[in-house]
């Protein structure tokens, strides 16, 4: 139990520290969004939902099967996400890990969102926006 909690906590921390988009150097946010959307549509059309129901046994207190319960899911869910990733890769995008910017850096200086995806260096980091999207900034280029 403790190991599980530790693992989940670690996973949450790791997930929170890194932004992991499909990335292409030189692409504008608009180009990235349009490619993402077109790949989403391609994947949705080529790998449509295929809903299946599995039945699992329900065991009584004495260990005997006393019934069954359904579990419904889309068998194509994973394949659809893979199709998006492959589509993006064909357009020159690869998965990148970009750290989120430290809060203190954002409090002391102001930065402009970068208009194009830059080469990933130690000074490039991501900022979460209020609408859930992210922008990239270069910590070596404050506005003020």
């Amino acid at each position: 139990m403790k190991k599980t909690v530790f693992f989940l906590t670690t996973l949450a921390v790791l997930t929170g520290c890194e932004y992991t988009p499909m990335y292409k150097e030189g692409a504008t946010p608009q180009e990235t969004n349009v490619t993402q959307a077109q790949c989403n549509t391609f994947a949705a059309n080529t790998v449509p939902p295929h809903i299946v129901t599995d039945w699992y046994p329900i065991y009584g207190a004495n260990g005997q099967v006393i019934g069954s319960r359904p579990e419904t899911y889309d068998i194509n869910e994973g394949r659809r996400h893979t199709a998006v990733k492959n589509c993006m890769q064909e357009q020159g995008f690869t998965r990148a890990s970009i750290p989120y910017c430290p809060k203190d850096a954002l409090e002391t200086n102001e930065y402009r969102p970068l208009p194009k995806s830059p080469p990933l260096t130690d000074t490039i980091c991501a900022v979460r926006q209020s609408d859930g999207s992210r922008v990239l900034i270069d910590l070596s280029k404050p506005v003020n």
Binding site: N33, A37, G60, A61, I66, Y73, D74
Partner: protein, 154 residues
């Protein structure tokens, strides 16, 4: 409870539920002084552009409620729900807003005129995009929506 009283309670409950769900605002764009035909044309062009660049893409996601464990009387798991949503909807809406912004429009949520406000009077649809104010509201109908100015009945 007598039959008619039960019926009355049911109808009242339904009316309250329907009123609670009815939209009270209409999301549109405003650029004061622009001719309505121009607004409609710009809106249609931005819609087409947004729909072309960000077409619908329905993705499912399965959530497993509960889990697996001992529930009074049996061991087992319970509950999974498959939901579907258009994963491009957010990007499409953002693009539409940006497209309209480039043409000088700001998104605006107009109130829908209430029957009390209309009070049986007639109004002509506005011919130009208005400056938002307390007298501007939207009349909805199956044939389309129109903006009116409550301070200018016919």
């Amino acid at each position: 409870m007598p039959g008619f009283a039960r019926l009355f309670v049911t109808i009242t409950a339904c009316a309250v539920a329907l009123t609670a769900c009815a939209p009270t605002h209409f999301s549109g764009f405003v650029n004061p002084g622009t001719n309505v035909d121009t607004v409609n044309r710009d809106t249609a062009e931005c819609d087409v552009e947004a729909n072309t660049l960000f077409p619908a893409a329905v993705f499912t996601s399965t959530s497993y409620g509960g889990g697996y464990g001992y529930s009074p009387g049996y061991w087992g798991g319970w509950g999974s729900t498959v939901t579907a949503r258009d994963v491009n909807a957010g990007m499409r809406n953002n693009h539409r807003t940006q497209c309209m912004a480039l043409r000088g429009y700001q998104p605006y949520s107009f109130p829908i005129c209430t029957q009390e406000q209309l009070a049986g009077r007639s109004y002509a649809p506005l011919s130009k995009s208005p400056t938002p104010g307390p007298t501007i509201c939207v009349v909805t109908s199956p044939n389309g929506n129109m903006l009116i100015d409550l301070s200018k009945p016919i």
